[in-house]
């Protein structure tokens, strides 16, 4: 099964990187999400996977019955998923604010902190930084 998962991981990395290379802010954020899936699945897979045997210790026993899924990557991934969500929530809200200020989704159009909506309009937008 690891062979198939390897292909899935590769596909997720490829798609994530491709999206991160786009000029659209939203696509970059989506690419980030795909990359975090890929990384989680990578951690999940590298030590081998076990079908249907969660790492639980049954009542009355002191150890989980062999074979059992490796609990260590699971603990790592759980943390990663949650932090990944924190990052995503932040980037999405950041996008919302950026879009409000600049009305564009094109990263190349918002390279400068001195961006003006229209020529001749004083830089009140960048005031968000100064204020």
């Amino acid at each position: 099964m690891e062979v198939v998962l390897a292909v899935v991981i590769g596909a997720l990395y490829a798609a994530g990187l491709y999206m991160m290379l786009r000029r659209s802010y939203v696509k970059v954020v989506i690419g980030l999400a795909l990359l975090s899936y890929a990384a989680s699945l990578l951690i999940f897979t590298v030590n081998g996977v076990t079908r249907g045997r969660p790492p639980l210790v049954p009542e009355g026993a002191l150890r989980p019955p062999e074979p059992f899924a490796d609990p260590l990557p699971q603990a790592l991934i759980l943390t990663a998923i949650v932090i990944g969500f924190g990052v995503q929530a932040f980037t999405v809200v950041l996008f919302k604010r950026t879009y409000q200020a600049t009305e564009t989704d094109d990263l190349d159009a918002i390279r400068s902190t001195e961006h003006h909506k229209k020529p001749g309009v004083p830089a009140s937008i960048s005031g968000a930084r100064e204020g």
């Binding site: 062979v3 490796d70 998923i81």
Partner: protein, 797 residues
Amino acid sequence: MTAAILSGFVLAALAPWVRKVARGWAGWLLALGPLAIVAYFTAQAPHIADGETLSASLNWIPSLGVDLAFYLDGLSLVFAIIISGIGTLIVLYASAYLAGDALEGHFYLYLLFFMASMLGVVLANNLITLFVFWELTSISSYLLIGFKHDKATSRAAALQALLVTGSGGLAMLAGLVLIGQVTGSSTISDLLSQGDTVRASGLYVPILLLVLLGAFAKSAQVPFHFWLPNAMEAPTPVSAYLHSATMVQAGVYLLARLSPVLGGTDEWRVLVIGAGAATMLTGAYLAWLQTDLKRILAYSTISTLGMLVLLVGIGTPLAAKAAVTVLIAHALYKGALFLVAGSLDHETGTRDVTQLGGLWHALPFTGLAALLAAASMAGLPPLFGFIAKEVFYKAAYEAPDLPALLTTLVVTSSVLLVVAAGLVAIKPFFGARVPTPKPPHEAPLRMVLGPLTLATLGAAFGFVPGLLTEYAIKPATEAILAAPAQVELVLWPGLNVILLLSLLTVTLGAGVYAARARLSPPARRLDVGARVGPALGYQKLLDGTLWLADWQTSILQNGYLRYYLITIVATTVGLMGYATLTRVALGGVLRQPDIRLYEALIVAVILAATLAVTQVRSRLAAVAALGTVGYGIALLYILFGAPDLAMTQFAIETLTVVLFVLVLYRLPRFATLTSRAARRRDALIALSAGALMTLLVLIVTADPSRTRLTSYFAYNSATLAKGRNIVNVILVDFRGLDTLGEITVLSVAAAGVFALLKLRPPRKEEATSAPLAEAEAQPSPEEVKPVSLPAMDATVD
């Protein structure tokens, strides 16, 4: 001895505080520190004169043979007394000169920091220690030259001095390390007897060149001399102290100190005598053409530095004696003259000699100091400068190589220095009274004390040279030669060639001074250095470096995320791909997949959804496809024994989709922003990176191995932590602190989200787009906050 040096640093650190508490008395109080150091070193003089040496050492980096080792012999002693003695007077002088300056406390800090560092340079007994203190003096010099930091010229001059002396210092470090390699010792007192080893070594020429580079840059030898006149941007007490009496002498000290190790060869003589003679002549030639008092003194200092280097290069016992004598005489008269220039500037508002004249009655004490010091500088009897010039002439006259040429150059330079001495002492104080920007009046006591003390000492030693000879000049000469020497100094040596040369010097000097109005314009035209000099080379080099930095920054730091990513990913894929394909046996990597039908279906859905994410034009469709990928992965987690992961993934996935939809809802479809070629290029890069990751996973999973950690957690979860869900036990118990960190990250993200939502541009914005205005009310912090999932980790059981 160690305490004497290190106490300077402590005093420096306390100085701003002392300034704050003692106010106007801070100068008097702080001068006590250097004064105590003078007393300490003066008390050592009789012992040193008896041929003793003093050493002290503290372990610093024993593994590298670097100790905080200090060594006091005749040469160090002369320097140490000059440094601390003039330091005392400078602190006093500066307290009046800078009175009322907001940064006066900082000034004492830098000045005392410099003094301690400079003491470290001349007392260091370890090559690396020497280098460290050497660079500390460069740094303090930088801070002091740039003291008036609101002036662009000050900053540029400070940077120039730092870059020139600092790069010289690096060359010197390389030379010193090579010396350590050749001799196997970095203790200076041990090296003194190993000169033959160094001179016989194949590395001798590189060592010599590197060390000379450091010494010449520091001591402003041609062609590095240009930084010193520019350093006159510093407050005048600094010029008097660092850029005349002490720091610029560090190069001379280094050459004198290492002359038993490196000296005596033809290479040494050619390079050191050549640089010294060129500097002596250049400095003297440019000195009398200046009109700014401080620049006159700066160029004459360069000339004297050249003389000292020349003498060290000649290397005979007579020359060594002359070097020490000139060094002491110069410290006394030049320190005094700089301080006089500072007083004139301070009390009249100008230091342009053409604006000064007839001030004798207004500033009698300062004038007296100027006259005494200038007479010493011009080498008039019975001042100490006369004796110094006599031995200097004698050393050149009796030099083993080219005595006639050397003597001619020396006399020519001295004639021009007589003119310079006249310019700084006679022109401002005598002759017709010239109106000055400020009504002139005598300087305060603290500013008279310094120049008058130094000038008087310069006069007194002329009458009693014996005292100085026995306790300072003889021990120092023996230290330079690393051999006993006969040293005597007399004021009246009798009528001989040398005296005639002195007479000629003064006569010619007076003549040129009288005719300077007619002589200086043509002489100025001869000054080609101003147009094609090394200063221009420095500027070109600096501009070139900045241009290069600018150019490479604009390429590497272009500001486009995608080009950064392409660079990183392509490099990684290239290097890792090459290593993987050439070094890993790929035979066992491709295996028959063991897959069940329902798993294949899920995988197919994930792959299809992944492809869809990259291709669809609708934002919401992309988000939906992204959600599908996430749910698919959650299903895989369920199938492969990770129910906790699946639950978290389902919850988070739902929240993510909701968040995306709220923000992106009704935004226009994705626009096509890039060309087809760019998309193909990106796809190629992304696919190759993906393929590499696939390959890596295949290689790693071909030989699975469990870590010991896994069994530790599995076997101890129930017994030690009383929990049956091992994943949860790891999160809340074994690795509880990690989870705390995770909660912190999430809180920071939540705070960031909250701030972004609450932040409003200062003006009511007119153009908020409709879809976002609606969405704005929705993902409020309350909406985002419940996602405090760490709590969830803990409760899943």
